[in-house]
């Protein structure tokens, strides 16, 4: 038999075997390496986040705190003195602190509600309860801050609002741990180089003053200077201390700074990383998730029960089943688009809450009146004034610090020119804009402004305004569209249309369009939650179907055998048995929803909100949105707080998953 064998001989078989084993070992190493790389990536991801969250910072003050306290260290200053210093330095903006830190009412009502409402549950001077905030004396407002805010908070207010502390540089944790100290040698070198640089620079300056003959020498020196500067950069990048020593010698250096602390968790947003917190983002996320749960759990479980228990095998049910599987694979951003087009736009009256009487315009009537006047050329404030006003009103979403931005956005000249042209009413509107103090009614002064090119009688103008206001409450008939026809009709009735030129009329209608769009803002928590609910519905359905399928058929038979109806069987037998599976699946789906970012962006999460969400119809932001926002900013400090927010997000998801495991174990013990 071996005579005609085509197989390799003994020797070559053994050699070949050796080769085959070698190849096997190599590939095994490759396979194992893939896993190790995946695990390393995971580790790198976590370490990277931690590295950015904790690390060194250098803090600089615009005004030296010692200067403010008259040279005394901060802890020797009494609370009363602190408050007085803050008040004295901030002036009118002191009220802003009270509003942002202590007021319990809507910011727009801060000045229109009595003190006892505004500071409900907090201390205020006796006998001032029924007064408005503007009627309080300086001592009274100081009293309120003094008695409701802790000492550390007072100090923080002083440092942040008055001394304007600024983190000029931050370093990640690995620098704080391993590259913090600067050696004496480095310091020597730096001093040396800096001295040389100074000398060379002055030489070059000297040469500059002389004639061109010296050009060659100057080139030489400049080359030397370049070398030195390069050396200096290298040195200062060698350690935290070196950089601090060279670039920020006056800044206070803190080796271990955690960007993630309790203040970070409970502070609302800010455009300055060192004061920014994620309070609004966490609240937004919590609101959305709870809502998503309430929407998607019953519907998802219901759909799964239908598919598993009721649906017989016909084309409709097969389509439904396939459809659900396919929906699970649709990219999340497509859901965002769906949410934008249908929930935010078409269902705007519902999702904005306008249909239920919520979110009727937050703009003050003064502004609306002003806008109408402007639209028809009734009032001619300079453009710059309008800009300021717009910026000012949008400030409802901005923190106090943003106001500074707005003010600096207008040059002082512009501001002066603008306010100089104002009458009392305009000024009131402007002031209201910046302090967000609503004027109760359209200001008589504004309506009475005598302007040259006024074409309407004041009475007509007023009727026009009233017609406009009558459309404040969108109704179901308005569904998604500004009811232009009805408006036209109303205008026709109230104003002799011939009095308006076509331009004025068009401008007015345009104003209304804009107004409706502003009013019907469907970019709310409700819209976001509905979008995410649609997104995770397929996941919940599929998971629940599996949980139901896992219930032994014998349970079902036993229940039917006892004479139970189908629903009784489902409700009393199948669901209780399937609950652990359903819960686990749902929680996993929810934890997916928590991290979803893209749909929220498209649906219109606000990127900057400093006010806590106050219900279904509030504008919102969420943790992943903040992470996204901060990640893409150029300053390193934003990366730090993005990392801190990531830790919060991951911990939240971890808690959810842990809950899933605990619930599952609990329920499975019972069965």
């Amino acid at each position: 038999m071996s005579g005609d064998s085509k197989l390799p001989g003994e020797r070559s078989f053994l050699d070949g075997l050796e080769k085959r084993h070698r190849r096997g070992r190599l590939w095994k190493i490759f396979f194992a390496t893939s896993i190790i790389i995946a695990l390393l990536a995971l580790a790198a991801l976590f370490l990277n986040v931690i590295n950015e969250t904790f690390g060194s910072i250098a803090i600089q003050y615009e005004i030296d705190p010692l200067e403010l306290t008259g040279g005394r260290p901060l802890d020797e200053v009494t609370d009363e003195e602190l408050v007085a210093i803050i008040h004295q330095q901030l002036g009118r903006r002191f009220l802003v602190i009270l509003r942002d830190e202590l007021s319990v009412v809507d910011p727009s009502e801060f000045t229109t509600r009595p003190v006892e409402d505004v500071f409900e549950g907090q201390a205020y001077p006796e006998g001032t309860g029924e007064l408005l905030i503007n009627e309080l004396s300086d001592d009274d407002v100081q009293f309120i801050l003094l008695n409701n805010v802790s000492r550390p908070k007072l100090e923080a207010l002083l440092l942040s609002q008055v001394a304007k502390e600024d983190i000029v540089q931050s370093w990640p944790l690995d620098w704080a741990l391993f590259r913090f100290e600067m050696s004496e040698e480095t310091r020597q070198q730096i001093d040396d180089i800096q001295a040389q640089i100074a000398q060379l620079s002055s030489q070059i300056d000297d040469l500059d003053r002389h004639v061109e003959d010296y050009d060659q020498q100057k080139d030489l020196l400049e080359a030397q200077l370049d070398d030195l500067e390069r050396a200096l950069i290298e040195l200062k990048n060698s350690s935290v201390q070196a950089r601090h020593y060279v670039d920020f010698p006056d800044a206070e250096l803190i080796r271990y700074h955690s960007w993630l602390d309790s203040v970070f968790l409970i502070t609302p947003m800010s455009s300055f990383p060192e004061y920014a917190g994620i309070r609004t983002a966490i609240l937004g996320t919590v609101y959305i998730i709870v809502l998503v749960l309430f929407i998607s759990l019953p519907i998802g479980v219901g759909a799964a029960i239908y598919l598993e228990e009721y649906a017989n095998d016909n084309w409709f049910n097969r389509v439904m089943e396939t459809n659900i599987r396919n929906l699970a694979g649709v990219p999340s951003i497509i859901y965002g688009i769906l949410g934008l087009a249908i929930l935010v736009r078409v269902f705007a009256p519902i999702t904005s809450g306008a249909l239920f009487g919520f979110n009727v315009p937050q703009q003050t009537e003064a502004r609306i009146t002003y806008n109408i006047g402007r639209a028809i050329g009734y009032d001619v404030l300079p453009d710059v004034g309008y800009r300021a006003l717009i910026l000012g009103f949008e400030r409802e979403q901005l923190s106090t610090l943003e106001v500074d931005n707005v003010l600096t956005a207008l040059s002082e000249n512009e501001l002066a020119r603008f306010t100089a042209n104002m009458d009392a009413g305009q000024y009131a509107a402007f002031a209201a804009a910046f302090l967000n103090i609503a004027l109760p009614e359209p200001d008589e002064n504004i309506l009475a402004v005598p302007v040259e090119n006024q074409r309407l009688a004041d009475a007509d103008f007023r009727r026009l305004v009233e017609a406009f206001f009558s459309f404040r409450q969108p109704s179901l008939i308005d569904f998604g569209l500004p009811s232009q026809d009805r408006f036209e009709q109303a205008v026709n009735e109230s104003v002799t249309v011939t009095q308006l030129t076509p331009e004025q009329y068009n401008a007015l209608v345009n104003e209304l369009r804009q107004y409706s769009r502003l009013t019907l803002n469907g970019r709310t928590i409700l819209a976001a939650a509905l979008t995410l609910a649609l997104l995770i519905l397929p996941i919940i359905i599929i998971n629940t179907q599996e949980a139901i399928r896992a219930v032994p058929a014998s349970y079902r038979e036993a229940s039917y055998g006892l004479g139970a109806t189908q629903w009784q069987t489902i409700w009393r037998t199948i669901l209780p048995t399937a609950i652990p599976g359903i819960l686990t699946g749902t929680i996993l789906a929810i934890s997916r929803a928590i991290g979803e970012t893209a749909p929220l962006i498209v649906v219109g999460a606000s990127t900057f909100i400093a006010v806590d969400p106050d219900g279904l119809f509030a504008k919102f932001t969420a943790l992943p949105i903040q992470i996204w926002q901060w990640s893409t900013r150029p300053q390193a400090e934003f990366r730090n707080i993005a990392a801190a927010a990531i830790i919060v997000l991951l911990v939240l998801m971890l808690l959810l998953n842990a809950t899933a495991i605990i619930l599952r174990n609990r329920f499975s013990k019972r069965h």
Binding site: H21, V330, I627, H671
Partner: protein, 401 residues
């Protein structure tokens, strides 16, 4: 508690209720209409139907808004004027154009507020139909500009290499190209890693090791993509820049985003592929070992071929995931359409573009708003086709054993 409930329920019927009452009714076996049971069924059906409504809504909204994207007319000044006055009568339908050999490449033109349909062009003479699209026929003075209608054609959309809405360029290719680049790079990373991990877990790892590794990989899969985006920007990009040179690699680049998308979909591939590998019957492995094959030979020559369709399905699902992935590319790939094949250059993907332009307060009647849907439709079609395909492959795979 649930057990107790059930017991108390039984009590109601056996002990609590008088047996006699039950007996008297049980002799009547006619079916009773159980209205509430039917209502419940209907209610549950509605729950299921929401998924169908979602799909219908998706397709309708994408279709409708894409349609308005493609039919939206923007008027462009052709810089040509009419040289003879036109009266307000429909018979006055000959236009004399300022420059000879006038090239009017659109079917509809506009003079003031009136639209006119072009019937023929001869030299500097254009014959038109007045009052097109129900516009009012009005007199026009000599010297006014002719506006030509510009719509986005499907051909321009799918073949144009520039996307800049400000100047009316709507070629989706730069976006598609960036999406394909990041997805390709992602697959380049994820296929070897995911397959290696899957093979290791399915064929090599002891059960205890597998019990540890699997959940850890699942953690990787469960991390929000925005965190991956942060990782791409703050870790992967600096890493690439330090390897390939800071001048060669831009801060935003498709390579970094692609690699991190690859890490994101690695667990997806590894877990789906591992399922496929584990589903290969043990008897095939035994047959191979029984013939003197090594573990590697058994894996490569028997197990992998037998699991091919499951593995291909895993790849397809992963590609579709990579194409639809948004946050990583929105953060790390760049924010500006760029038709480039350089992986180290910034380029905006379809998803990244949608996220960026819808991020602000998008006004509903802008071309940007409509373009979201045209891009979204393209994206939806791509992923939908891939998902359908993968489900087919999986179904065939199930039949095999």
């Amino acid at each position: 508690m649930l057990v107790e409930q059930r017991i108390s329920h039984i009590h109601e019927y056996t002990i609590g209720a008088p047996i006699q009452a039950i007996k008297s009714t049980t002799s009547d076996l006619r079916a009773r209409p159980r209205i509430h049971e039917r209502l419940i069924k209907l209610l549950l059906l509605l729950c299921g139907a929401i998924s169908i409504l979602t799909t219908i809504g998706l397709v309708a909204i994408l279709g409708q808004e894409s349609l308005s994207f493609f039919t939206r007319v923007s008027w462009e000044d052709s810089n040509k004027q009419i040289v003879v006055d036109l009266s307000a009568t429909a018979v006055d339908n000959i236009l004399k154009v300022s420059q000879s050999g006038a090239v009017i490449d659109s079917e509809v033109i506009r003079l003031d507020d009136e639209e006119l349909r072009v019937i023929s062009i001869e030299g500097d003479t254009i014959t038109v139909e007045r009052g097109y699209n129900n516009t009012e026929i009005a007199p026009h003075r000599a010297g006014i500009d002719i506006y030509t209608a510009d719509t986005v054609s499907l051909i321009e959309f799918f073949t144009g290499t520039e996307w800049s809405p400000q100047v009316g360029k709507f070629g989706v290719l730069p976006l598609v190209n960036a999406t394909l680049m990041t997805s390709f790079i992602a697959m380049l990373v994820a296929i070897p890693l995911g397959m290696g991990a899957a093979i290791y877990m399915s064929e090599y790892a002891r059960p205890k090791v597998r019990a540890v590794i699997k959940p850890v990989l699942e953690i990787l899969a469960g991390i929000p993509t925005v965190v991956f985006g942060f990782f791409a920007l703050t870790f992967m990009t600096p890493l690439l820049r330090s390897i390939f040179g800071i001048h060669n690699v831009e801060i935003f680049n498709t390579a970094s985003a692609g690699i991190v998308v690859g890490l994101l979909i690695t667990p997806l591939i590894s877990s789906m592929a591992e399922d496929a590998l584990s589903a290969v019957p043990q008897s095939l492995r035994e047959a191979s070992y029984g013939l003197g094959a090594t573990r590697l030979e058994t894996t490569i020559k028997v197990v992998l071929p037998a699991a091919t369709s499951g593995i291909i399905a895993a790849f397809i699902v992963a590609i579709s995931r990579a194409i639809g992935e948004t946050m990583i590319v929105a953060i790390a790939a760049g924010s500006g359409p760029n038709f480039t094949f350089n992986p180290f250059a910034a380029a905006e993907t379809m998803t990244g573009h949608i996220a960026r332009i819808s991020g602000g307060d998008l006004s509903y009647d802008s071309i940007d708003y409509n373009s979201i849907f045209a891009i979204g439709m393209t994206l939806f079609m791509m992923t939908f086709a891939l998902n359908m395909f993968s489900r087919r492959v999986i179904a065939r795979f199930r039949e095999q054993y």
